[in-house]
Amino acid sequence: MTDLFGNLIDGLTFVMGVIPILTITLGVIMGIVAGATPGLSPSMGVALLVPFTYAMSPTLALILLVAIYIAANYGGSITAVTINAPGTPSSVVTAFDGYPLTKKGKPGMALGVSLVASTVGGIIGTLILIFFSGPLAKFALKFHPAEYFALAIFGLTTVASLGGKNWIKAFIAAMFGLLLNTVGIDPISGVSRFTFGFSFLYDGFALIPALIGLFALSEIFKQLEGGDFSTQQVAPGKQEWPTTSTYWKLKNTIMRSSFMGTIIGIFPGAGATIAAFISYDVAKRVSKHPEAFGKGSLEGVAAAEGANSSSVGGALIPLLTLGIPGSASTAVLIGALMIHDLTPGPQLFISNPDIIYGLLASLLIANVILLILGFFGARLWIKVTTIPKTVLFPLIFAVSIIGSFAVRNSFFDVAACLVFGVFGWLLRRYNYPVAPIILGMVLGNIAETNFIRAIMMGGWTVFFTRPMSLGMLVVAAASFAVPLIQARKQK
């Protein structure tokens, strides 16, 4: 432990230099922009910047990339709140309450809470990474495919509470998302499914164009349909920002979501999105005002953001302790380590402690810089909501087109984004929630591949003979049933 503190202080001393601070600041700015741009996910933000780090020292390169990763997770919430266009899949959950707050004329409240929850979540995730990474990594390794399957099912049960009174429509949307996820080459058998011979469907539907279409485009179509686009979303003037007491009231939600986000972030493949959905669901269940969720609840925003930012620390645990990526972004970080002739894994703590502890210290500093820059940035972003809709709408279309193209540099994705937009608009017209489609697309792959893997490894009974899997499935069943029973009682 003494070594740990000593190494950490060395790391902090290094990152407090002018060049590292400037590097982190640059990374945070780039990350916020990458996250806030629909189409650029945190992993893409990191990946796009990897080539620029070749000429840098390994420590500076890594702290730049990690700063981008952290900030991009927060950046996704900005467009989710201001224009209902989640910049990242995990910020879909932030949009549930963030955008209604904007519609009510309170984007400052949503942006303020999302920033503070992100920062606190990021710091908690980092502290857990620093002090408990060893045992947590060992725990994560024991996770069998049966448990991954149970975790995915647990995530899917959040549909029950997302759907509310429209539970049948919410389930149809989720099942459709799950079905869409089966398009492409089956990762287990290698057989191509529902591709109809089109090579651009071999990888299935990319998530980001679906996200942009279902949220951003369908929202604009909905507003165009209303005929009222001569005004601004929010009238310019004095904005309402959260006060210290507002943050204090949210402390339990932020702390709980941050712990959940870190733990869920550890499991390779689960990631920020599932962490955000589950934390949101739990926050709603324990809230004194569950009826406010989905209509502009600050607890909802805090839960989503605390979870998705803390998952960064969680995802870095298997990367640093085992050399195994916990998310798409950490997979890119492994490539960056290799480019600098470093071998990811536990040996790195012994062979290059300066790099590892410099990186850990930079995570803490990056979160503080994110808070400072985010504070000023929020005042700038809020101006987006005061742009007249006549100007804003064509520009959002243009952002959506370029964002969906940037994912894979493919016209197919742009066309898919448009189709998802029209489809999302039709669904919204008839009161289908669109978020369950994204949930199905995110969790479908985890659920299916781990279901089959678990059976291949341990037969059909494996889900019930492993205590952790059984426990999670029981909790999932209860989580599924309770909202439905409550909805029935309310009728």
Binding site: A47, T390, A415
Partner: protein, 516 residues
């Protein structure tokens, strides 16, 4: 009279313009014909995102190649479909040598799987630059981690051992199949989304062995390389025995190669230019020292031998993909026939017709208020039925076949939609929320479709400039100066941020691409 003069003037102008264009085109062509290769930057098209080993190879190559030739190499990542997306980018461009495809042996598995020889023959397999031997990695603290013990255990317990690794049908899977064939073993291949996730499963003691490259075992003391498929021991891993040493000849040449390919039909002088460059790069000390750490064999194999190697690999992949049921012959039987070809198209058309007729029937009936809701439910039902029929064609290659999970979702979708349909007819009064200006939405959808079609012809920048102007005007914005500033500002922003900074290759359109 005035009209005739004007017509004559117009005709003369057109002639002059035509002449100028012909001269310009001729100059352009002749200058191209006489120019020495290369006269513009060369794109190295990588089939993965940044950070993977092939991406690192491409970037390292670009850096070292720049020492020997005065040309700018630009690495362009085109991930998707196991290399098909990048391949299409290369084969759709002219065969002029400006698009170099960074390829690996894994591409061949994918090409065989989805395109057969068509994709392989579309490329000129220009150079193989390195061979990364395949190896079996085990968990060093597990009882079963030495190769002879693993073989003995597998022979005693056929089909019981779990081997983990990435992707079904990929190189690592096929290598495992070859090893099992050679030893007469029977084990289970448990595929994971990536090598990293499979390694986590091995470290979590969920499998006995992992198949990959020696570099995968670096950095974690718990990982043990049990055997390597190379003719001699690797200098980077001197303690690891080869299969030949372990008494099994015939497994000494299983390796992942990485190299470059050009579009078929690239001029021979361009191929020769690359040939000279590849020789220099592979002999470069920086290149050799960078790759030596992971036990790689740096070797340059030129076009002819490389092409032969690729075709041999393709045959082997085809054999094993067929054996493991990934590649299949046409399905037989009535159901399979319905699920494919013309029968499926006819069935799709019939279902869509029924859906539209039913919707029209509802529209004409007393239930007209719920027609929209019925259309949406009908859409879900049609898609579910079509997917269900398609799934009849899927093989049963694993414990739970590829059809099982899609059918599970379909079996839930159909009754849920029928239940919703029933509820919708029972509760006709519940009118959906809709705005009065659907026409504006439909017009905007039309604008977007035209915009996307135009983008392919005149490129992103011009079409977007036009779209933003039309969009602003259509929504009633009339400050013309601002309209042009906003449209131009967006174009500038896209150019600087996406095109120049983030290297997103925004389309320039067929017209401009053919000109420049």
């Amino acid at each position: 009279m005035k009209q005739i003069v004007a017509d004559k003037k117009m005709s003369r102008t057109l002639k002059v313009l035509g002449l100028i264009l012909i001269i310009f085109g001729f100059l352009l062509l002749t200058s191209k014909a006489h120019a020495a290769f290369p006269e513009k930057p060369i794109k190295i098209v990588v089939y993965t995102g940044p950070g993977g080993l092939i991406d690192i190879s491409a970037r390292k190559f670009a850096g070292i190649a720049s020492k020997y030739v005065d040309v700018n190499f630009v690495v362009e990542n085109k991930p998707g479909a196991g290399g098909i997306v990048a391949l299409k980018k290369v084969i759709q461009a002219p065969a002029d040598g400006y698009n170099l495809y960074a390829c690996t042996k894994s591409n061949i598995a994918k090409f065989v799987q989805v395109g057969g020889s068509e994709y392989i023959d579309a490329l000129n397999w220009t150079a193989m630059l390195m061979a990364d031997p395949e190896c079996v990695i085990t968990h060093g603290t597990q009882d079963l981690h030495l190769w002879p013990d693993i073989v003995a255990n597998a022979l005693q317990n056929p089909g019981e051992q779990n081997w983990v690794g990435p992707a079904a049908g990929g190189l690592d899977h096929v290598t495992a199949l070859k090893i099992w064939d050679a030893y007469g073993m029977d084990a289970k291949w448990i595929p994971f989304k990536s090598g990293g996730k499979a390694l986590a499963a091995l470290l979590g003691e969920q499998g006995v062995a992992y198949v990959g490259n020696p570099r995968d075992a670096l950095g974690n003391a718990d990982l043990h390389i049990a055997a390597v498929s190379s003719p001699q021991r690797l200098s980077a891993f001197p303690d690891v025995p080869t299969f030949t040493e372990l008494g099994m000849p015939g497994l000494e040449n299983e390796y992942m190669w990485r190299g470059f390919a050009l579009k078929k039909g690239t001029p021979p002088e361009v191929v020769q230019w690359y040939d000279a460059l590849f020789k220099k790069v592979t002999a470069d000390p920086d290149w050799i020292s960078f790759w030596s750490k992971g036990g790689l064999d740096i070797k340059y194999v030129a076009e002819e031998a490389f092409t032969t190697l690729v075709h041999e690999d393709a045959k082997i992949f085809e054999y094993y993909l067929r054996k493991s049921n990934i590649l299949q012959d046409e399905a037989q039987g009535i159901l399979a026939n319905i699920a494919s070809g013309t029968s499926f198209t006819v069935l799709s058309l019939i279902l869509v017709m029924i859906w539209l007729l039913c919707s029209y029937g509802v529209y004409r009936s007393a239930y007209a208020a719920i027609v929209g809701r019925v259309i949406v439910i009908g859409f879900f039902l049609v898609v579910s039925i079509l997917f269900l029929v398609q799934s009849l064609n899927f093989p049963n290659s694993t414990a739970v076949g590829p059809a099982a999970v899609p059918r599970l979702w379909i079996y839930m979708l159909i009754p849920l939609n029928l239940l919703l349909l029933f509820k919708t007819f029972r509760n006709v009064a519940e009118v959906s929320e809709s705005g009065p200006r659907v026409d504006i939405v439909l017009n905007f959808i039309g604008f977007l479709v035209v915009y996307l079609l135009l983008m392919q012809v005149i490129g992103y920048f011009l079409s977007t400039f036009g779209f933003v102007i039309v969009g602003l005007y259509y929504l009633g914005y009339r400050k013309w100066r601002n309209i042009f500033i906003i449209s131009g500002g967006w174009i500038l922003f896209s150019y600087l941020i996406f095109y120049k900074t983030l290297y997103v290759p925004l389309p320039l359109g067929t017209i401009f691409e053919s000109l420049f």
